[in-house]
Each structure stands twice: as C-alpha cells, then as structure tokens.
Amino acid sequence: MIFDIIGSALTWVLDTILLPFRCLPPIWGLLFISLLTGLGMISIFRLTSNQEKISRLRKRMLGEVFGILLHVSSPKTVIGFAGRLIGSNTLYLLYILKPLLVIAIPFMLIWGQLDARYGSDEGDQNAYVTITVRYEDSVPKRDDITVSGRGIEVIPPVVMVDTLSQVSFRIAFEDGIISSLNVNGTASIVGSTGLWNGAIVLRGFDGSNSLKRLFCPWVGRPVLTDAGPVSGWYSLHAVRYGILGGHWSWLAVFLVFSSVFAIAGAKIFNVKI
Amino acid sequence: MHKLKLKLDNETIERIRKVYEVGGYSSPEEFVIHIIERELEALDSGSNESEEDIRRKMEGLGYIE
C-alpha cells in the first residue's frame, strides 16, 4: 500500500514537471528530465561527498600519473607510482560510494518512470497488440471468458493456453481515447494513461505486486474480480528516437544527456567529481 | 568405447548375413558399421564445408533446383 502511495506521488511529480512538454514531441520532455537528473545528481554528489578530500585525492592522482610519465625509463619507479595510483583509485571509489548509494534509489525510481513514459509505443492504430492475461488457478470455460473494453476493438480469436492458465487475444486501438480492457470483470488501462506526450504507457497489469509497480510503473494496477485474471501483459514495441542520424533508445538518450548535463553542471558549479 | 545396442528385425538380419560376404566385409558388424559411417560422412557438413557453403548461397534461387 505504502509503495502504491509513493508510486502515485512520484507519478504526480513527474506528470507536473512534464506539464509544459505535453504538446511537444516526447523527446523534449525526455531531454528536460535528463537535464534535471544530471543537475540533481551533481547537486546530491556535492552535498554528500567530501569535496575537499576528493580535490586533494585528484591532485595526488594527477601527480602519480605524471610520475609514471616522467619516469618511463625507470621501471621500478613506474611500478611504484602505478601501485600508488591503484591505491588512490580504490580510495576514490570509497569516497564516491556514499554519494552513489544516496543517488541510486532516486535514480532507479526515475529510471522506472522514464522507461514507462518513453520506452514503449502506446500501440499503433494500424497494428494489433497482443494481450495475454493470466488467471490465478485455471482458465474459465471458453464460453465464460468475456473480453470487452473502451477505446479498443477485440480481434478474434481468443486463444486459451490451459497449461499456463493464460488467455491471449489481440486488440486494435480506436483513435484518441484512453483505452481500457475488461476481462471477466478485471479492468485495466491499456497503452497510455493519458492523451499527452510523456504519459505513462502501461505494458501490463498486476494486482498483487505493489513493490514492482513502484520501480516498474509500466505495470498498471487493475480493478480485480474473483472471476477475472490476476495479471496481464501487452506486446508493445520499444520506441527509438532519431538523434544525429542514429536511432537511440530512451535509455541511451537519458544516460548520454544526463551525463553531459551533469558534467556541464560540475564545471559550472565547480563540483569536484 | 560407448556401446549402442540396435534392434533389427529377423528379416533384416538375415538379409545382412546374406549380403555382407558379397560386399567383401569380414562380418555382418563390419558391414553395418561401414554403412553407418558412410551415411554419417555424407550428412556431416563439417567434412565438406566449402561445398555446403556454396550450396547454401544458391539455395532459394528459383532458377536452379
């Protein structure tokens, strides 16, 4: 329960931040979040790390590198400097361990949010989306399975996979409506949760696992019934963004640009990293 | 050496007994082993890689069989 509240709060925060980007192509929102993340990470790093120690250590490491370069002709000295450099590196890793641990949790939460918002296509009107639902114990009788929805068209056939307690079928999206699915009373949103760019795109639902929903917000929270399935997943396509002639995944965009913004932030605000 | 037992029907065994000497084999076992080896050789792509490769490249060309 607590995870669902945190998750909803986080989703609300991200939705609010992305408000000005709703009408723009999704890449703008992703770049803006990358900027905030980069700057956020560098601020947390500044607050949680001992800047003075890092500064001193970096100078020492630089000295050791120069030491190696200046004494290239003397293997013994080079080995000595190299040994000290390895020691300094280990120390550096220890120094940054704390800030990295502090950054890790929000980073993972943001990661999940961005994956949910920018990782997947919300379903193409020209193509089918295959949906598979799983029942707790066994699949109901064929005639008892009811599939309906709003904003979607269910395409026959309905395939029963008894051995896995699963049922699969295809849907096509109708234009411009938030789509919902109802299988034997279990209801869940399919595709986007909103009609704006950057809204969470659901790739399935799971009635039981709220921790998973916190880190993986693309798993929706269904309205469950006894007769209906307990979980489901949708075959949606991954999205690629065209940048500099390449086709970048959201993760590549996020990692590259948040790093670029973080390094730029470190330069501007004189943070030692 | 691993052992692999084969079950053959009586008729086949009788036929093997009849033909192994004609084929110049010292025993029915030698005859059977040779036949299997010959088939394996023909099926094993590794033994004739280049030709296999060449065939694969032409596969699907409607103009030839």
Partner: protein, 656 residues
C-alpha cells in the same frame, strides 16, 4: 494516423534540429526530374495484348508519347546480366556477370555470380570461441562504373530503390536500397522453414528451405527451433538458433507464437506481421537481428507452420543493404518491416508443395503490397533528380504462372482456371503504378518504364550435359551417379565440354580446368563443331529446333574475357530451357523432357526471343534501343557536361 500524431507534428523535433547539417546548398544545374520504373520481366507482347484489351489505360497513355518499344536485352537474357548492362552501359566482358552462376575454372565449383563474402582476416581462438580481429566483408562482384556517378558528380540527386545486382550497395553519393542479389540472413537467396508434424510433408530436400519435424507432447505446445545465420565466432561455424513456442488452441483453430518475449496470436490461414528475432553470437555482447513472418497453414489435424526466409532487418541490418546505411532504417521506421531479400516471392515454397497456388499468390501479393507502399512513400518525397524503382513481382509470378497463359504447358490442364486472371491482375497493378508516376509528372518530369527482358514459356527441358554425353563430348563413368550434382558421374579426362548454369557451356581446357583434356589450340574448332551440332538439335516430340543460336562468347564479346566466362552461351528457342538437373552438373537419362515444375515461364533463352520493353514520355530518336543505352540516355536527360561512356543516347537524334 497514429494516436496523438497531431500533437507530435505540432512542434519541431529537437532530433531534427540536432541532425541539421550546415553547409552550402548544392549548386543546382537542373530541376529536371526523371522517374524510372524498372519492371523485371515486363513482356512487350503481353503488354501489347493487355493494352489492346483496355485494362492498362496508363500504359496506353504513356505509349502515346513515344510508342511501345522493344528494348534489346543482354546475352544471356538473365536478370543479373541484364541489369548489370543497364547499370554500367556495357556487356558482361566489362561488368563481368555472365550468368546467375559462375564456376571456379580449376575446380568447377559453382558460386553465385553477383556477390561473395570475404572472411575475416586474423582470428584469435580461445577454446571454441573465435574472435575476429577484422570483420567479414561482402563484396559486389559486378565491375564497371554505374552510370549515375556522372549525375551525382554534378550534384544531381539519385535515388535507386530495390536496385538489382547492387548488393552490397555502391558507396557513392546516390541513395540506394539493394534489391535482386540481396541474400537472406542464412546467406542463401531465400530459405524458408516449415514446421510440421505431418509425416507426409517431411523431406530431405533443402532446395529453397527446410522442413522441420516438430511434436506436441500432449501440452498443446510445439517447440520450434529456428535456425539463424552461422555463428562465425564459434569453431565450426554452428548455426545460431532461437526457439519459438507455438501453443495451439485446436478448438479456436488458432495459435499463439511466443518468441523472445513477444506473443503473436494467429488463426489458421493468417500471416503474422514481421517479427524481429535476435540471434546471439556471444550472449549479451554480440548479436544480429533478423525479421520473419509466420503463416499458419493448418492447425488440425496437423500443425503446418511456414516461416519466411529470415530477412536482413532493415532497422538494424547485419549486412549492408543501403547507402547510406541509415536509409533502410529510415524506411523501416516509416513503413514497418519489409522483405529485404532479393527474391522475395517464395517460388520455392510453391515448387516444393509447401504453398498451394493460392497461398503462393497470397504471399506474392503481400510482397507487391509492400513494394507499392514503398513506392508511394518514395514517390511522394521525390523532389528532383533521378528516381529509379524496381518491381520484381511480374518476373517471379510469370515464372510461376506462365502455365495458365500457355495451353501447351504440360501443367495447363492441371492448373485451376481460377488462376487464369492472376497475370492480368498483376499487369493491371503495374499499370496503376505507371498511373501514379504519370500523375506525379509536371512540365519538368519525364517518366520512363523499362524492363530487362520479356518472357517465354518453359515447357520442355533440355539436359545439355546428357546431350553432350550422348554426342561424345562428355564421358560418363559412373552411371549410378548420373543424377548427382557436380558432375559426380563424369570422367574428366575424356570430357571435352560441360554445361553449368542456365545458359553457359564450357570447354574442358587443359591448363585452365584442373583435369582439362582439350588443348587450347583445339578449342576454336571444337566450339565451331559444337555450335553446328547444338543448333541442329531437334525435339523428337515436335520436330522443333531446341536451340536458336549457340553463341561463341569470344565472338560476341571480343574483349579479354575472365577465366570464369563461359566459352559458349546457349540461346534456347522459345518453349525450351536448360533442365533443372543440368544447371548443376547432373546427367538425367533423357535429353529432352517435359518441365513439370510450376516454374513454367522463362527468359533464359535466346535474347532475340525475349526483348524487354521501353515506354517513355520522351520518344526515342534511334532505332533498336538497348538496355546498355539506357544509362547514357537517362543521364542525357539532365544538363550535365560528360555523359557515361557506355551505350548510345537514344533520346538524342544522332544517338550521341
């Protein structure tokens, strides 16, 4: 339109801004636009008859400009040779493509003539892993300079979509998507997979595809192993494999195919969309992407599941299929997956009985529909320069369905009359494409439709090698091996000549062939004798001549010829072609037999019998235009100082 597309279109993408290139615009010499439709196998006689029938109004319109001209084809009139003539403006003596199949002169090993894979240079071996220090390369074997270089040199944009005999595509300034000659992911020209538990469908043949036996162990699930490309990073180059779980619901008569985390529901008789599959060479580090489509032929009583040849994924091509490399992925992002292999129509599935006539036609229409989508997409973006678009549909479908046009075909009586209209429908579809091109025309645009060759029936098969043996030109020592490929039956020491490929005949020359038996000074006399004998062969069934012309290669192509060039090119008469068996060196008993394969049309005969077509908004100024003239002529429509060297400019009065 995709949901919310209007929102996305509402603002400029930063991706576009990032990709924005600065620099000067090219100095535009001419705003002229030329649209060229390259329609493989468009036959002048069939075209004329359909125009007369009134079902090709757009072709008729185009004919009013410059007439319906026969376009001289290559010798031999095979597509790789003909399109190379078109591209370079020269014959095989310059571009080096003499047949679909060439052979290594010493060992007589056949190989595909258009491209080859050059293995990686140095390899580090660790256990059974092999790590190449340099990547393997694919090499285009066509020589000669493409005519469009003269256009791109002057800054004129050139786009060639599905261009034949250009795999891997030229690395020049033209935008190219490679067509005919592009292999599938297994390196073949198209190798389907057919999963079944029907014993009657099992076969050891691997021609065009493999049949894989699968079994339901009672859980309504078939585990289907899909063989991918070879893994060059493992010793012995084993095939990479992935597994698809096919779960059947026999009551619903439907399946769910689970493959690499995606699920696809299909009813019997349905085609899946293109499905992306990743094959790991080194797990998590190195993998290649392929695309394939499933077709559920039958679920009960037996599972019959067809998988297309694994095509190179245009979104993430494992081998170069376009110039620039991003072109194919741009197309895939706009249009979805599409057939990238050079021969997309699965004629082999029909020949092998995996497809019925109906299913084959359905698949062929899928291919054509994809091509039409691609064509409309590109035509709508075409602003200036040269735009060439290639259609394979007529060629491959005439190969498979000539039997419905020709009452003399041995398969005519057994082919359902329902398919009589199949060829007409295709011509009508091509006519609509011509119509689209004409609609896109303005005062500055010319439209040209050309084909590489025409078509003829293939009713009777000529076993060239058997004939050579029966006439004493070849000696068979192992009669039991007559039906084996690769001349298993032959005694090379007393063989003077052999046939290989579709139109090629070779002399077994001492010093060139490993076991050559003919002294080089005797070759010419031998060729003259062979020519005389071959041209007098008649079919005992009809008394008709089998071969119109046996061309001595050095006489028609006087330039220095490569050692792999045939010594003679056989120009079969209409209705005849080299037999299936003879093309790869077998010796069936009879010299001439009926062709009972659905592949019932051919053009691999005498070039005079199968001319191509030229329709143009610019009337040709010279007689007997030839494919070799087209590059120079197309370039001549633009205002450029130097024209490509090959051929004549047929659109100028004096052909210069």
């Amino acid at each position: 339109m995709k949901r919310r597309e209007f929102l996305r279109l509402a603002a400029l993408s930063p991706a576009a801004l990032l990709a924005l290139k600065t620099g000067c615009a090219r100095s535009q010499i001419s705003a002229k636009r030329v649209i060229v439709l390259g329609i493989d196998g468009l036959d002048p006689f069939l075209l004329r008859s359909f125009i007369h029938e009134g079902v090709m109004p757009n072709a008729a319109r185009l004919m009013n400009y410059g007439g319906l001209n026969k376009l001289g084809t290559s010798n031999p009139p095979q597509s790789p040779v003909a399109w190379s003539n078109f591209i370079t403006g020269f014959g095989p003596d310059v571009h080096g493509i003499f047949d679909f199949i060439h052979r290594k002169p010493t060992t007589i090993e056949p190989y595909l003539s258009t491209s080859r894979v050059v293995g990686p240079g140095r390899i580090i071996s660790i256990s059974d892993w092999r790590l190449p220090l340099s990547g393997a390369k694919v090499e285009l074997l066509r020589k000669g300079e493409p005519f469009w270089n003269k256009l791109t040199d002057e800054g004129i944009p050139v786009k060639l979509v599905k261009l034949p005999v250009d795999f891997p595509p030229d690395k020049g300034k033209a935008i190219i998507l490679s067509g005919l000659g592009t292999p599938d992911m297994r390196g073949s020209q198209g190798s389907f997979t057919f999963f079944t538990d029907d014993a009657r469908s099992m076969s050891n043949s691997t021609s065009g595809g493999i049949v894989v036996a699968v079994r339901d162990y009672g859980d309504n699930c078939y585990r289907c192993v899909i063989k991918g490309p070879e893994n060059s990073m493992r010793a012995g180059n084993p095939d990479m494999e992935i597994e698809a779980e096919v779960r059947v619901d026999r009551v619903a008569n439907a399946v769910r195919i689970d493959i690499q985390g995606t699920s696809h529901v299909l009813s019997a008789g349905e085609w899946s969309p293109w499905i992306r599959m990743r094959f790991d060479a080194i797990p998590n580090i190195s993998s290649v992407s392929a695309i394939g489509r499933f077709y559920v032929k039958e679920i009960t009583p037996n599972l019959k599941l067809y998988l297309t040849p694994l095509n190179i994924d245009p979104l993430d091509p494992a081998l170069p299929i376009s110039t620039p490399a991003s072109y194919s992925s741009d197309l895939a992002r706009n249009l979805g997956g599409f057939y990238t292999q050079g021969f997309p129509e699965d004629t082999k599935a029909l020949s092998r009985g995996v497809f019925s006539d109906e299913e084959y036609l359905q698949q062929a229409w899928i291919v054509l529909q994809e091509r039409l989508d691609l064509f409309h997409h590109e035509l709508s973006r075409f602003r200036d320069g040269l735009f060439f678009f290639y259609f394979s549909s007529l060629d491959l479908n005439l190969h498979m369905f000539y039997r419905v046009l020709d009452p003399n075909s041995p398969l005519y009586p057994t082919t359902s009359p329902r398919f009589k209209g199949a060829i007409r429908e295709l011509y009508i579809q091509i006519d609509s494409v011509i119509g689209n091109a004409l609609e896109a025309r303005d005062a500055n645009t010319e439209v040209i439709v050309l084909s590489d060759h025409g078509f003829a029936p293939f009713n009777r098969s000529f076993n060239l090698n058997t004939w050579l043996a029966s006439e004493g030109y070849a000696t068979i020592t192992s009669p039991n091996a007559r039906n084996q490929d690769m001349f298993a039956a032959i005694d090379w020491s007393s063989t003077a000549a052999y046939g290989l490929g579709l139109n090629s005949l070779f002399i077994n020359i001492a010093g060139r062939e490993e076991n050559g038996s003919v002294a080089p000074e005797q070759v010419h006399d031998l060729l003259l004798r062979l020519k005389r004998d071959l041209e007098s062969v008649t079919d005992p069934a009809s008394g008709r001549r089998v071969i119109d012309n046996a061309y001595i290669t050095s006489e028609i192509y006087p330039g220095p010829l490569p050692a792999y060039a045939p010594d003679m090119i056989i120009g079969y008469a209409r209705c005849f072609r080299s037999s299936w068996e003879t093309t790869l060196g077998s010796f069936p008993e009879e010299v001439i037999t009926d062709n009972l394969d659905p592949w019932s049309g051919t053009h691999c005969i005498d070039p005079a019998a199968v001319p191509g077509v030229l329709l143009s908004t610019v009337p040709p100024g010279v007689a007997n235009p030839n494919l070799m003239d087209m590059g120079r002529s197309l370039a001549g429509l633009f205002d450029i100082p130097v024209l490509p060297p090959g051929g004549r400019n047929i659109f100028s009065e004096n052909g210069s």
